[in-house]
Symmetry: C2
Subunit: 410 residues, 2 copies
């Protein structure tokens, strides 16, 4: 498929790519305390209810609700105080009619009790007696057994990316190890005869490899494992060998082309020979990022990114991140959070093409102002000066100064 015969809109390009993907990572067992950010490979069922015993949510007195009916400031109920419920243990006594027991937030209700009256609604009376100024309904200020989670309930779905709350929930249930998707290995190949490794002093006409490292960071943030294969010489045999090896060893391969058209052509040629169905998309209607190659070879995605560092990052956000999520089996992709800001100036755009502009966020009276960072050819430090990116959708001719726009962080 020659370059740019058909420029696909990014949504359509992604659908075409995703429809051919088959490679998911297998599951591995890890410690829950290491599982933050990982994705569950199986659903999690509660081995027991939470709470596992009736618990009070307040400090006060455990009572039998029937003993408090009608109690008020003017007509208090009087109950015999028979003891104090210790924290972290059973009361060691049973509440009989007419009795109450002191209890602390989180304490276990003594048997016989079915409600708790808050300490603020009580008063000390004669020794061994408590004056209740409020009635309590059955269950008042008490968490029933299983009120958070019932035994056997599905508490976490398969394909859930674990946040602090899920880690806590797993610990509450004593699930200290669990099955998660292995981190997808993302092979990163750089190409371009002008590209040298960062530790090398470039000669005339040479530039250091940037994309392998920006992409590694992006892959890591998305929950993948970056495997860098270095800078591959611009010839078919070397490219083919490196691409085959990385495709064999990884779940997904990303090749960043050199900046010249010939390197990009070589990339497309090599990818097409890696496996069926091969190149699915050659050229997307996104700026920056037009010379993007999307392919699936033997069930695994192979993505050819433009050599320009800003283009490479924008395109990786659009296509590499969703593939990583696919490999992980992420079931629910939450919407991407953003900061809303008012655009400082008009941003023209070509209808039919999706544009991404780096912008700086500047505090303003009514929130933030988004100021585009302009630069010839999307240089890397222009992106470093930006706080995020603004997207101009394909169906717009641009955005007007003063418009509210979403700024996505990168």
């Amino acid at each position: 498929m020659p370059e740019f015969l058909e420029l696909l809109p990014p949504g359509k390009a992604l659908s075409r790519l995703m429809s051919h993907l088959a490679q998911r990572t297998e599951a591995e067992e890890i410690a829950t305390e290491q599982a933050f950010g990982r994705v569950t490979a199986t659903r999690v069922l509660a081995p027991h209810p939470l709470p596992a015993f009736p618990r009070t949510t307040v400090d006060g007195y455990a009572v039998r609700a029937a003993d408090t009916f009608g109690a008020s400031d003017s007509l208090p109920a009087y109950l015999n105080l028979i003891g104090e419920v210790p924290m972290g243990a059973e009361a060691g006594f049973r509440l009989e009619p007419g009795q109450c027991a002191m209890i602390h937030t989180g304490g276990m209700l003594p048997s016989g009790a079915d409600a708790v009256v808050m300490i603020e609604h009580t008063q000390a009376a004669a020794a061994g007696e408590v004056e209740l100024l409020r009635a309590a309904a059955i269950g008042e200020n008490v968490l029933k057994v299983g009120e958070d989670v019932a035994q056997g309930e599905e508490v976490i779905q398969a394909g859930t990316r674990l946040r602090p709350a899920e880690i806590g929930g797993l610990m509450a249930l004593g699930i200290t190890r669990l099955m998660v998707a292995r981190l997808p290995r993302v092979g990163i190949l750089s190409s371009g005869d002008e590209v040298v490794p960062p530790e090398v002093t470039p000669g005339p006409g040479q530039v250091r490899d940037v994309n392998a490292y920006t992409l590694s960071a992006l892959v890591e943030a998305a929950g993948g494992l970056a495997v860098r294969y270095g800078i591959i010489p611009d010839n078919q045999a070397d490219m083919m060998a490196a691409a085959e090896r990385s495709l064999h060893e990884c779940d997904l391969v990303v090749i960043t082309a050199g900046s010249s058209a010939s390197t990009r052509d070589l990339t497309a040629l090599v990818i097409n020979e890696l496996g069926e169905p091969g190149v699915l998309v050659h050229g997307v209607n996104v700026r920056p990022g037009k010379p993007t190659i999307l392919a699936v070879c033997g069930g695994k995605a192979v993505i050819g990114l433009p050599g320009n560092p800003v283009s490479a990052l924008v395109i990786a956000g659009l296509f590499v991140v969703p593939v990583i999520e696919f490999c992980l089996g992420v079931r629910q992709v939450r919407p991407r959070p953003a900061v809303w800001a008012r655009l400082a100036i008009n941003l023209p755009s070509q209808a039919g093409r999706e544009d991404w502009f780096p912008v700086r966020l500047v505090p303003a009276v009514d929130g933030y102002r988004a100021e585009p960072v302009f630069g010839k050819s999307n240089l890397i430090f222009h992106l470093a000066q930006a706080d995020g990116l603004v997207r101009i959708p394909a169906d717009a001719n641009g955005l007007a100064a003063g418009e509210l726009v979403e700024v996505f962080f990168i």
Copy 2:
């Protein structure tokens, strides 16, 4: 300072805490390829300009602009083609008047050349000759030396959290090692006689430790290093010993209280003896999270969090994260991104108090609907069912159904 005599608004409470902080982490040198998410300890100056040589941004012909003046479709300019500029090397020839050379995107301009004409604006002419259909201005389609970054320019400020773009920029400059702030060590102490470790089967009245693990995840996400000290017995001597040890070993200490008032009182007592000025805030006007203790002891923050897991996470987001950023020396705190959604129902709130509600995001025709997840006493799995939190500011009596609200992820 007794509990809840004065409930401070969270903003004021944070200012009071921050005004007493002195502990920042020292700098350490690490490899740039490991530095994603780390915070620079020193500013970074460009050791050389970027680009380091004049580069073309297009495929085409390097020319002397003066040779192209007046060229057009109807009156082309004819130049002698003297060669092709190799990628990653000097041309090996000098362009004299009347001459041009083929050049590829990213290639180094040959000496004598000062512009590039895009290949689309040229035509093959007689052998060894190129027909130019457009004039080129001096510098057209060329990146000048230093156009991205000048030599000696400050490219990254001290206190910058490194994103993919900064990692790429550092690599472009050959800066493969740099000074970053050491990860702040956040000591996490659990207390409460009812609390047992996750691997233990709780007896009657006991619950497993949740907060140590939710907080570890939150600390990690904020760029800190969680150091767990386990569950400390509820007595002054043990608490004091553990608090002193953790304060000595860490940059910041977080103590999660048991659920009972007596444990919280003990926490406050212990914190106040750890060092000057001691407890600064005891009780904040936030729900959930009222029983929060903010202290500074010998320049380091000591924060007492409520035992309830949802409260602990909300409060940690408000106070622990900013302290971690302070320790790291983060200079520019970007606004927190959010997803905007329409509230599904009215959410009442008490004026003067800041409320945080867990909500679920449900796709709707015009974006997302935010549906509150209600639950008695903020149970951990209620939070796990939520996509994020909605904040009701202190100056509101609540939020109305249909209102646009920001949903913050946790």
